[in-house]
Symmetry: C2
Subunit: 230 residues, 2 copies
């Protein structure tokens, strides 16, 4: 939709990869619609995944015992978070839609993207108990997890050895995005692209472009245990 | 048990934290039993969580397009993984039991520990499809996830807003450890230590020490969807 703002948080080392192409397809299609698109290319940025004292500029709140959650909460209030975090928070604040594009690593996102979650979604900025889930501070935003897998679609079924793919979406979609109040669109999953033909990979890119054309008409999923485990 | 080897993979920034104390209690109790205990103190080691080209020493297998999974698999075969990974793999290889000690960050482990999983458990070393799950290369080892939460135990129940705590254990226990053939002991969870009294925190440490006394007699959980989602 013209005027809508999209942040793509992207974690792949290789621009020529399918993940790189999926990201480019999204930039292209959404820009064509008149959206303003920003990309956080985590590997290219050498984004820091570790939650450490370096995230707080200047003096600590508690000099005796370092509690990361407390320190970043207090630093956020004072405007004393490190500049890379302030920048990411600005992008999140402005975005109507967050797209996370990554290869599935161990039933989850790569560490570099987990570090983005750990460090950017600070208490006071994204949530503040009991302001979580429906009253999280990022409400009125949408999120979409778009990823590739190594395993096949059959492995990721209820009877398959890796279980229903929805099982592993719970921590990411519900535990992170929904906790911050973000509404979640259905995930976009490319199963085992490395085991299919070049032709089929092209179809995967086309399917993603196609979905994006009507993305703004989609309704969020019902992010409750039933969606994941029923 | 005398002679048993334990690797504790530990991720907390502050030695004085409850996580730090839980780690120390485990080192003490297991050493007292005659076990040989090794700790990978990830923050102190400034462990690198990002999966990049730096994990491969020397020339790449494919110079045209960087595929991390392929490159580390090939580097492992040639003995060309970076030295920090070789060191961690040695510790894993020797261990009978892996204990992961961490504060829960966003329904999962902190990024620095996710990076340990992403980078250490290389194909060829820990698994090689179809050698996964019951035939994963790390069979005959045990793993135990020991962690603290911010949220209360009531939040993490089937009817609670954060859902049954077992839901979030699926990717870590089944998706990572079980995939590599490791058998999983019941998790050890300290709920919301920051919301309880000093006295109760001490009881948490005692309960952990107590459990460790008979740990070697425990049977692994049945790591199937029923355990998690029934």
């Amino acid at each position: 939709l013209p005027g809508r703002k999209v942040l793509i948080v992207y974690a792949h080392q290789e621009p020529k990869s399918l993940n790189g192409s999926l990201k480019s397809v999204a930039v292209e299609e959404l820009s064509k619609q008149g959206c303003s698109v920003t990309v956080s290319d985590l590997y290219a940025m050498q984004f820091e995944p570790r939650a450490t004292r370096n995230d707080i500029v200047g003096r600590l709140h508690n000099l005796e015992e370092f509690d990361y959650g407390v320190e970043v909460r207090e630093a956020y209030k004072r405007g004393d978070l490190s500049s890379d975090l302030i920048e990411e928070q600005k992008k999140v604040q402005e975005a109507d839609l967050l797209i996370f594009q990554f290869p599935l690593y161990w039933f989850s996102m790569p560490a570099i993207m987990k570090g983005w979650m750990d460090r950017v979604l600070v208490e006071g900025f994204a949530h503040q108990f009991p302001d979580c889930y429906s009253s999280g501070f990022l409400k009125n935003k949408l999120a979409l997890f778009s990823f590739t897998t190594g395993g096949s679609q059959e492995m990721y079924t209820k009877g398959g050895i890796s279980g229903d793919i929805r099982y592993l979406l719970w921590p990411m979609q519900h535990g992170i995005m929904h906790y911050c109040g973000v509404k979640v669109l259905a995930p976009h999953i490319c199963f085992a692209p490395e085991s299919v033909s070049e032709e089929e990979r092209k179809e995967m890119l086309l399917a993603w472009a196609q979905r994006l054309k009507t993305l703004w008409k989609e309704k969020p999923i019902d992010c409750s245990p039933e969606w994941y485990f029923k």
